[in-house]
Symmetry: C2
Subunit: 441 residues, 2 copies
């Protein structure tokens, strides 16, 4: 697929066929094709499932709850949740360090005694990552010092000097920092593709909601009135009706999902781009593509720096007792594979398909966060948030010791405001106008 040779020998490179060519050829159309120059992968239903397709965290749950078809949300960074799970509200110590070599570090350490067994629970946060470790004290003569613990978890952190965090409300700031990358809300695009449509202009021009599409939307979630909607609004206007009057919303495993349905977003007469629609769907990371007939979809059809993965669903025998859906999944090359695996690509309409689809969408977004683009953004965000957390904790600690006149900027927002998932964090910490126009390549 996507290959370094594209750049080196572009003249010699034989591109994949264009979507127009595929359509012209006729016959049994593939549901998804690769762009001419690749850059995406398409999930192979015959591939063996990846070993880690089930999150460890989730496997602990009751395996056989009613209505549970065994589709698991994939685990995100354990360290991001470790502080809330093991430290918050309990006895522990926090230490910070500002080093010219590795930047700011923030370390949390808790002593745990379970009968005979002693452990130290340690989290170390640096600009590039957070690491959580549970260290048995059985073999150690004494509790390691903070510099020793830092070295243990993070090779680069050798020979540093740490100072204690002495602010009684520090833990709330720290948990907000740790959870800046924890997301419980998702927004996904839903694009209606008619037979033979090959461009985003064509897609966004579709206004008709056919019975088959309505049937599919009802399976996804509830149709909600946007006016005064109290759940997660996913950027939609709930006050002035600027983004349409209704949308599709659901909650799956405590995760709130708002869909951006192309046909429900406002249609603007005379706007070929349909910016009112693209503004939302083009800023989503994952989108569903709904096809009523067999027709090829190509993931570069919609120009967007955000969209990284597509779940393509084709209705078969819609609006009948035997409605079923054929599913394909495609994502950019730098998005790692995600579960649940597409073992048999045709699903009967029903709760199991719904659970598969919602799980696949959420896992797709979590996987997209690991792509180069979002990982880089996240790293920049982490670093900025960590620096600001470090400064605040230092200032508060000094003030607690009575060594400074005390904080004067009480009105200043705390890191807490930056809570609300990766994207929220990025948006808060970067110049927002960069992103408002980012879908226009």
């Amino acid at each position: 697929m996507f290959d370094v040779s594209v750049f080196l020998f572009q003249d010699d490179y034989i591109p994949y066929p264009r979507i127009e060519e595929v359509l012209e050829r006729g016959g049994a159309y593939p549901q998804v094709i690769l762009p001419e120059f690749g850059g995406y992968w398409i999930e192979d239903p015959d591939a063996p499932p990846p070993a880690d397709s089930r999150g460890k965290e989730e496997v602990e749950e009751e395996e056989t709850a009613p209505g549970d078809y065994g589709y698991r949300l994939e685990e995100i960074n354990e360290a991001a949740r470790a502080y809330r799970k093991h430290f918050l509200g309990r006895e522990h110590l926090n230490f910070s360090c500002s080093s010219s070599s590795v930047g700011n570090l923030l370390l949390s350490v808790r002593h745990e005694q379970e009968k005979e067994h002693e452990h130290l629970l340690v989290i170390i946060r640096s600009r590039v990552k957070s690491v959580y470790h549970r260290l048995s004290l059985a073999e150690l003569p004494d509790i390691p010092s903070v510099p020793e613990l830092a070295k243990l978890l993070c090779d680069e952190a050798a020979g540093l000097r740490f100072s204690p965090v002495l602010y009684p409300k520090a833990s709330q700031l720290i948990v907000n920092y740790d959870e800046h990358e924890v997301n419980n809300t998702y927004k996904f695009g839903v694009i209606y593709q008619r037979f033979g449509q090959v461009s985003e202009e064509e897609l966004f021009r579709n206004n008709e909601e056919t019975p088959a599409f309505t049937e599919f939307l009802q399976l996804l979630g509830d149709t909600v009135d946007l006016q005064d909607f109290k759940g997660f609004r996913g950027g939609l206007d709930v006050s002035h009706g600027q983004t349409g009057s209704q949308s599709i919303y659901t909650v799956h495993r405590q995760q709130e999902i708002m869909f951006h349905v192309s046909t429900k977003l406002p249609f603007t007469e005379g706007d070929a781009q349909q910016l009112q629609r693209k503004r939302h769907i083009g800023n989503d990371i994952v989108a569903l593509v709904f096809q009523e007939e067999a027709t090829p979809f190509v993931p570069d059809m919609i120009a967007s720096n955000f969209l990284h993965a597509f779940v393509v669903v084709q209705a078969e025998e819609p609006c009948s007792e035997t409605t079923s859906y054929k599913v394909s999944v495609t994502a950019r090359e730098d998005v790692p594979p995600f579960g649940p695996p597409l073992a048999a690509p045709v699903f009967k309409k029903g709760p199991e398909f719904r659970e598969f689809l919602l799980t696949k969408l959420i896992n797709a977004e979590l996987a997209c966060y690991k792509s180069d683009r979002f990982a880089r953004l996240e790293e920049r965000t982490r670093a900025a948030l960590l620096d600001s957390l470090h400064d605040e904790l230092q200032r508060r600690s000094q003030s607690m010791l009575g060594l400074t006149p005390g904080p004067e900027e009480e009105g200043r927002g705390e890191n807490g405001q930056a809570h609300g998932g990766l994207l929220e964090s990025i948006k808060v910490n970067c110049v927002s106008s960069v992103f408002e126009t980012s879908y226009c390549q």
Copy 2:
């Protein structure tokens, strides 16, 4: 009663009648008389009950539990239990300070958020006292600094510099320190006084356990075999039978009580002092005196620096359906009054009398701790323990920061060993031989 004039004008002082004189006079003997030169108080059954005879802590309990006659254990220093109750295992910070003016200080601070209400819970420990305070943050612009908190709770602690405690296991050392004055075990003497006995030699020579005395002992608690006894042994020998084969033991409101019964302790032929018996009863702080007939008891009859209070019980119609007991209470002048008040001094035999008696005994001991002698001992103990705690926490904190080679004296006992009530602490921290002979005035 006891008066400074005794010393100033001893020649003019008219002493109370000696016990021999009281006996010679005959007639209706008072149950307890004052020593010739006073120094004790006798509880007046007609006095109004003191306002604080019920501990606040205890009043919160169910008032009408079955078998609960409303007799309450009196509250001891709230600060001694505050750390376990509000800090241990929860997020909090500890700070220590070594000042030339007030000695070592150890401060604990915890931020508490209950809905809208923010509080700081603070304990400050000095050589002379511990103070616990719950400070509302509602009126404050920000969290006060540690020096400000110290000043707030302890006027003398102004302008000090505190350093943080950074040892992950510090809380266990701190709770051990705080609870060095918390006692859940008690030992009380039980002395059998026959009619007309006026000296400790006579009392300790009694060997016969009459049916009336046996009936009373059975009301107090269970007769237990000392060999391999697993409960609180109150200094009795549970391995080699050196202190007799049986004793009386009971548990009252989670407090373990071992009685030192004069007739059950070994009798030594030819020892006028009966040191085997006096060694235990003379080192108790509170003793019961059991009388089978009306006869006067005088509290200086037994020479002891420890014994500070006596509960004197006289059986009436013993070993019958209508057995009852007449009770008098006497204590040294510097022992504050203690409850439950002796409203009607004659009790029918039964569970209510038992509860009254055990409560009165425990409260007597708690009150005796406030007498000059024990308060002074406690202060010396506090100071020694606090100094050693401070040093250990400082050393451990430095080591945690990696600033010292680390602790080398791993085998050294921690303060934890000093746990087990006021007396245990005193004994551990002072030269024990001083106390082994202290009952001989």
